[in-house]
């Protein structure tokens, strides 16, 4: 992984509907988790749901995060539906 990218991961319903469990995206300075979500959503199709009505949860480096959470090159960013364990 280059220093100038982030790994994006998808889980559960999102993983299935987007048809992928991870991809590598370029990471520009000043990036946030929310920017990444918008960028992915703009692809249209199933991707549009990332900024749709259904809530999307965010983790950065395996800790719960918010759209405003900053993202650095090398980070792991995950998007997933609300959790339903237990």
């Amino acid at each position: 992984m280059s220093d100038q990218t982030v790994t994006v991961r998808f889980f559960a319903r999102l993983r299935e509907e987007l048809g992928t469990d991870r991809e590598t995206l370029p990471c520009e300075p000043g990036q946030t988790a929310g920017n990444l979500l918008e960028q992915l959503s703009s692809r249209g199709g199933a991707w549009a749901q990332l900024t749709g009505d259904q809530p999307v949860m965010i983790a950065v480096n395996q800790a719960m995060a918010k759209p405003a959470t900053p993202v650095q090159p090398g980070d792991e960013v995950a998007f997933f539906p609300p959790v339903t364990g237990g």
Partner: protein, 151 residues
């Protein structure tokens, strides 16, 4: 003994109980909770569950919840086990066991961990039925119950 275990393997509540009981002569109370796959979920005719998780993050989140519990209550020993993969009706899904000096703390920690695990640990449940499969939606009631431990 590790406090958190996530995996496909089944677990033995009796062995976990013995480990909790073996936590010193100051232990006066052991509370346990076990969750099982039951036959009425969002859809009728559930035949099983598929459980997905976020490896690594799950363990970190649960360890952090245990740390929070230790700050709020007197806890001698805790064990949290959660299975993933495909489970059938009546299979064991989750175990939370707590050894404490007093029953109030043991009950509180056991219930706290189950409640907050449901709203903050990255697990996702898919119900398997005879007519197809279906990702389970988060319940407002779980969110409300998880929220009562805040502040």
């Amino acid at each position: 003994m590790e406090e958190v275990r996530i995996g496909e393997a089944d677990f033995d509540p009796a062995a976990e109980y013995e480990s909790l009981r073996d936590s010193g002569s100051g232990t006066g109370a052991i509370a346990t909770f076990t969750g099982l796959v039951r036959d009425s979920g969002d859809l009728q005719g559930v035949t099983g569950l598929y459980l997905e998780h976020y490896p690594g993050m799950t363990e970190q989140v649960i360890s952090d919840l245990i740390r929070q519990a230790r700050e709020r209550w007197d806890v001698r020993r805790v064990k949290v086990i959660h299975r993933v993969g495909t489970l059938r009706l009546s299979d064991q899904i989750v175990f939370v066991g707590v050894a404490s000096a007093h029953r109030g703390d043991a009950f509180a920690v056991c219930q706290f961990l189950m409640d907050v695990l449901k709203t903050s640990a990255p697990f996702w449940k898919k119900e398997l039925t005879e007519s197809g499969e279906h990702w389970v939606a988060q319940k407002d009631s779980d969110l409300a119950v998880g929220g009562r431990w805040e502040g």
